[in-house]
Amino acid sequence: MIRFEKVTKTYPGTSQPALDQVSVDVEKGEFVFLVGTSGSGKSTALRLVLRETRPTAGRVYVAGKEINRLAGWKVPRLRRQIGTVFQDFRLLQTKTVAENVAFAMEVTGHSPKEIRRTVPATLELVGLSDKGDRMPDELSGGEQQRVAIARAFVNRPMILIADEPTGNLDPATSVDIMKLLDRINATGTTVVMATHDHGIVDQMRKRVIELDTGRVVRDEARGVYGFQH
């Protein structure tokens, strides 16, 4: 589903590469944790998958296509197959919960009929079916992150990318979010989650890829976060 072949990314004006000869293969339907300290290259790896940036050397494949060769106008089509969730939720504060989720469908050209059918079902999946009319600032952090996940998942992407999705949440809420991501993974969606959260990684017992200064230093099928700091 996602394959990195000797991917190196050096940002302009820096000598130390953010990613250094990284080769990784993520199968369809896998759940993968991407761990490592700040600056280890996690975010760069995620940005490469979204084609927010291109590798300096090497190749990135998503769903069998080499995406650094993708023409600019085809990039939106790639991103429709990838849902993205961030630490800071990134909801539109002027829209209700349901409108925020519907927005992702509206701007990708879905019909109002499809939107009316899909949005309530997705809100139900994330456990917010009674809060569709609320504004984001009326919700707790955990609930806002659920809205963000609903928005990322409403177009039924093949891949869900989560960049520190529990970074702003307390441990109990984080567990709920992880259960939700696990449920989404169970529908066949590949989930890649970058995180610092030891507890969660240790609990979930999923594949763990650890990055350190741009290199893969560990890739375990059922891993834990690693050294206790």
Binding site: L50, R80, L92, V107, T108, G109
Partner: protein, 301 residues
Amino acid sequence: MRYVFSNLSQGLRRNLSMHLAVILTLFVSLTLVGAGVLVKRQSDAAALQWGNELQITAQLCRDDDPNPACLGAVNPQQLKAIEKVVQSNPQVASYYLESQQTAYEKAQKLFDPKLFEGDTPVLTPSAFRQSIWITLKDPNEYEGIESAVQGLDGVAGIKDQRETVAPILRSMEVMQWASLGVAIFLVVAALLLVANTIRLAAFARRKEIAIMRLVGASTVYIALPFLLEALVTAVIGVVLAGGALAASMQFGVQDRLRDFLGFIPWIGWEDYLYSLAIVAVLGPVIALLPTLLLTRKYIKV
């Protein structure tokens, strides 16, 4: 599409003062461009009527010519002799003979139609002179040909067009360049204003744009509200400029100048349409060009 149109009206209202500034600048600059085009058409029309600046005309004698240099109408031998002198003169680039009939027809366009009507009209072809229209190689070297032709039998006199026409043409040229010159500055101002408006609009919508990119909205879809906003302001600017130009045509040229300075062939509505077409193309270009460039920059996927 619903999103695009709700965004359009929202965007227009949110940035109302900026959009008004763009519309007013477009209005004034397009009006000046249109005016410059009209003045150009006017000076072209005048030059066509009078011959261009380089021409001088040798007026030939007609029947009952009041000019003391004439003893009756020019005869074929005299005409041949005159043409030979003109032909062999080194200062002459080219020349042609204008008949009495042609002179008469030119005059019909300029003077009151009453003068040409009735059983015994005031003006008939025989009231006009044949003339030889001479184009000079160098407009400053005319004494030689003037003195060579002047005094030949059958020549009533030399009319140096430049004495009468040149000041008019020159002032039209000044008007034309002045309006186009000011228009260029205003067009630059309009371009910058449009660019600023887009910058503000893109900033106001940056969160939505970021999410649209993330979920895979196409670039065209993201840019469409911006392009439509620019197009709406452009259309309003063009309509205002077209109205101002039409008003100056109607109240200026048609109602006043035509009566006041009747001997000049004034431009008509077809010239107005020509300038309107230029304005109607230029307006959207001024508005859309910076929009396209900047949306590419701000909304890059």
